[in-house]
Symmetry: D2
Subunit: 366 residues, 4 copies
Amino acid sequence: MSHNTFGHLFRVTTWGESHGAALGCVIDGCPPRIRFTQGEIQAELDKRRPGQSRFVTQRREPDEVKVLSGFVLDGDGTTMISTGTPISMMIENVDQRSKDYGEIARQYRPGHADYTYHMKYGIRDHRGGGRSSARETAARVAAGALARKLLPEMTVRGALISMGEKQIDRANWDWNFIGDAENPFFTPDRASVPVFADYLDGIRKAGSSVGAVIEIVAEGVPAGLGAPIYAKLDQDIASNLMSINAVKGVEIGNGFEAARITGEQNADEMRMGNDDKPIFLSNNAGGILGGISTGQAIVARFAVKPTSSILTPRQSIDVDGNNVDVMTKGRHDPCVGIRAVPIGEAMVACAIADHYLRHRGQTGRV
Amino acid sequence: MSHNTFGHLFRVTTWGESHGAALGCVIDGCPPRIRFTQGEIQAELDKRRPGQSRFVTQRREPDEVKVLSGFVLDGDGTTMISTGTPISMMIENVDQRSKDYGEIARQYRPGHADYTYHMKYGIRDHRGGGRSSARETAARVAAGALARKLLPEMTVRGALISMGEKQIDRANWDWNFIGDAENPFFTPDRASVPVFADYLDGIRKAGSSVGAVIEIVAEGVPAGLGAPIYAKLDQDIASNLMSINAVKGVEIGNGFEAARITGEQNADEMRMGNDDKPIFLSNNAGGILGGISTGQAIVARFAVKPTSSILTPRQSIDVDGNNVDVMTKGRHDPCVGIRAVPIGEAMVACAIADHYLRHRGQTGRV
Amino acid sequence: MSHNTFGHLFRVTTWGESHGAALGCVIDGCPPRIRFTQGEIQAELDKRRPGQSRFVTQRREPDEVKVLSGFVLDGDGTTMISTGTPISMMIENVDQRSKDYGEIARQYRPGHADYTYHMKYGIRDHRGGGRSSARETAARVAAGALARKLLPEMTVRGALISMGEKQIDRANWDWNFIGDAENPFFTPDRASVPVFADYLDGIRKAGSSVGAVIEIVAEGVPAGLGAPIYAKLDQDIASNLMSINAVKGVEIGNGFEAARITGEQNADEMRMGNDDKPIFLSNNAGGILGGISTGQAIVARFAVKPTSSILTPRQSIDVDGNNVDVMTKGRHDPCVGIRAVPIGEAMVACAIADHYLRHRGQTGRV
Amino acid sequence: MSHNTFGHLFRVTTWGESHGAALGCVIDGCPPRIRFTQGEIQAELDKRRPGQSRFVTQRREPDEVKVLSGFVLDGDGTTMISTGTPISMMIENVDQRSKDYGEIARQYRPGHADYTYHMKYGIRDHRGGGRSSARETAARVAAGALARKLLPEMTVRGALISMGEKQIDRANWDWNFIGDAENPFFTPDRASVPVFADYLDGIRKAGSSVGAVIEIVAEGVPAGLGAPIYAKLDQDIASNLMSINAVKGVEIGNGFEAARITGEQNADEMRMGNDDKPIFLSNNAGGILGGISTGQAIVARFAVKPTSSILTPRQSIDVDGNNVDVMTKGRHDPCVGIRAVPIGEAMVACAIADHYLRHRGQTGRV
């Protein structure tokens, strides 16, 4: 709903900055008697952890999650059972190098929120991006791990489908390849790995950065979640994805392509299936019609801009109004879009979990 | 926030279906002492009114707005002054032809919300799309007319920039042409009119339909509105635009293009201006950095899918599970994207007005 | 949640002033397939209608409700079936005497919101109390009529239990007497009628006014509604009751009496019943323990202050800062508490309906 | 707004149980550039800390607060300056005696939420009351300490005015006595100390418990905060106070007394003061008219029921439906109302801070 909370019945509030003592989230409204383990949440967090390849920032953070409230331990001493009260999770910041931020503290980095923070608050925490740090997304991923538990039959998976000028070949799509040890890019196309690797090495060595497009697919979502025109399921998915740092665009189903084609081409025709459910002959709608899920796979894509922290000097100003040239040093990802994959999954999972509870509340039909 | 309300401090609740007695909205949280006239609101409504050219539906609706509460009349007997209490606006439905919906009532039209409504509610109002009708958007436009009043220095304008396969030439962009009597398309490019007209005539005669892309530009928005990662200004604009029927994608600034370029290309460099404000050398960010307005023009685009109601028969099923062929008769727009322009303007205006009040509440800085 | 909306899943937004064209409410989140008639809603409204005895204001308002959206008509042409979309209800103002408010417009009436409206908004609609008018409560009663439909097994009834210095004898409590034609006071004690009548005649003839205490009892509410410490069911009932004009205190169960007694006296002991449900040996808790319903009757009381509009001149100031004496003329109730009975019922019904949906959403257990 | 969050712009979310690792709160929406120290927050927490006299529970908890996010340190290394992002505060649980809860785990203690938790969630954390533990209130007090900072000219103070059958003498009211080392009761009446001490010793020795009434007074609150009928300032204060465990009634100003007197007696007359502000000749309204603050002292009272944990056996049932006798052992307060004083202060301070921001947002007038 508001400044640092999202969701309506499955409500996630996150807190914390890059360089404070810790960061975390509070999940309010989780149903009781949901069973989960700290290990399951940690596994999701480990997906987005930096320091796993040369293509992501070298900051060393274990990102170890602690679950502080909202559960009782099962007899096995490991399984947590939600009690229906707020679940608080915390991740302590370990690798806070006390580096000299002197210059950056007074300069507005182009493409960063430095200037706008200052215009809004009249003060800013310049260390590591403050609230806009990619570290904050750990809290989202932890929340998403729990959201997945609400719909056990649901699978939410993400893939990087393009990086700068390079794209995957959809004909090679293999979900199983995404978790592969030889895949540092979350790409579903094995053939794309060397292409992306070469390309990104070049970008990295040039001190540059590049954007990416991520696709999230949620399967096993029951029909009926969402609402006709406000709180549409696609609207809330779009809102959740746009809340991720550096995201500049969102599409559902065929997205902008829908604007280019005709009604005949775009319509997802239906035939009756054998299991009393319709079969859709295509899925241009991305699993959502009139804001409500159809039972097909829900498909969303989002565009991540290139990291603004680059080694090439850029023109800017400082807090005193002087013209300056800014060059960002320090640990940064040449393509932040890579690590956005598990974050996008988490945000979609949270949106669906929230609508699952809302649908149950209003209609009693789940 | 929720099912049929959007906004947090400037809060709009809409109600009504295509074929009920009326539709309307309640605006809660409007500041007191805002001066407006019924004529100003009507002028916005008239922009989206059907029946104005052969390219939009022929349904004849005067769409006359009545303001029912939340104001006192000024001495001139015309100017309304808001009192700070809820402003209720109503538009009566006049042209409700009692046509035979018999067949449609039992069929699920492909691309429509018929099936999903049924899966969600177990009941649906099949007349004219029910809640998903384009008529509901009149309430949004009325709300947007008021939202504009909160920031008198702000201008929010929209333009259709592509229709199906046809695009405008941005070199010809002329805001003044949009309200021109010879412009039935909200295009900013005079040269595009015959192109769009021929193209859409063909579409219409073929009983087909086509999508469109709309661009909304808000100028005069002060720096500082929004929030770093949740309730980002771009997030709330995206959410508001995605809440419009048939919208399948949203972009801010250069949008998906940002995913294709490098950090050097994407950074909006700054120099100090003479008026103590920075000059941005480009606006790839679309006026928003880190979720907060920069003071530059805010730029958003959205994709509207082709109308699902077409004359070409499509495969579908009915409520009893029979395979059927569906063909929609009746009054329909070959390109609903045209009338989405004033709606998009209204939704962006509402998002900004809401954040203007939120910013003032938290920081006291406006 | 906010300025003019209450409820979370059963969400009621009201609008309108005493002297505008109309007033009404929008109910968002009502479950689909709830059956109701305009007559049922009107019957609730008629309970609070002024002009029914010499003890309530003589303003003549038919208070005829129109349901504008959110339903389809059943085959009988009378029964409305909710579709799950917003239900808009409107009541037109008929009896708006164009009396001279000249003096009142510039004076701050003691005990009224005149001064505080001015301090908040810098403007006020002085006609008939503006938004604080008792007429606004018609919208609440209409909403409450619908809320009752969500829990058909629930009965919510109210009674006036004291008026100024006079109290009922609880030994005479008879719910059936409340709707009796000879009972203008909503008292459950037949013997109290002549006492209240004499007392109030004296008050009225003296140009004075007097307060009252109302008790609301909701039976048939399932155990499990509410939440432990925030959004407690008793908290939301108290909030809803305190939102009624002129209410200065609220109690749940034995209320302030609980502060005077010991733990042994206050504990509601339990024994196992024959129907697998516990029997509570008392109900000091008023049907709510730890914020959650026990299945017993829910009992709430609220205190209504005496009407501030009285004929005796009172010292005050005017908008220019002059000392003045204020005497209110016009139509006013000597005891507004009388008509607060159906309003209190409606507000309790709405709180319970909202929690019923919230409980179903979070737990799936209803 | 909802389950574990209160406030609209100054929004407090609390989490944690009595026997988990920690408890805490997240404050979202705090204005930027508010200066505070950990010591100031700790000082408020120390007021409600158990183990300070023989009249409160002997559980030893240091209740040391840690501020984890949302601030930058000032140059002095001690003063925290809010950045406008979420402020997370945590209090670790230290004294979690691993006592045997075996019997209690299966019994429903009368007056406790045991039965209702079970009915709601189908599971409960029986250790120390779970979420309903008095320990949770530490988070509220921490939030209240920050809320006070938003209105530096405001003073919010509380006093215990009755305990069971014993009452203070208001003629002896001395705010300065409340913090006195010889005052274990938060009473403003020095003469009441021996009376309350004797009385409570008797209650304690009898293994019994007793209720209390608390009065909260907020001075220095500007006129204009609140709203006419929903989100009334008194409504939100009442809601906040009713959210405290064991509270069964709330009054504003003269409260239930208002129901007993006439309009002439109840009206707070006004005269013009020398400072361009009105002087109110009384304050029956408790500083709030029509839901909006008058600028007078805001006065609220609430009733706390006797602790349900008593040594006298009470009839009850267990989870298997057996009739049992329940007697609570362990550390418990004979009068929980005593420690409710700083909690009540905090909840009133939070309500006012929230409305201060909301008023500024809507009207720009503060």
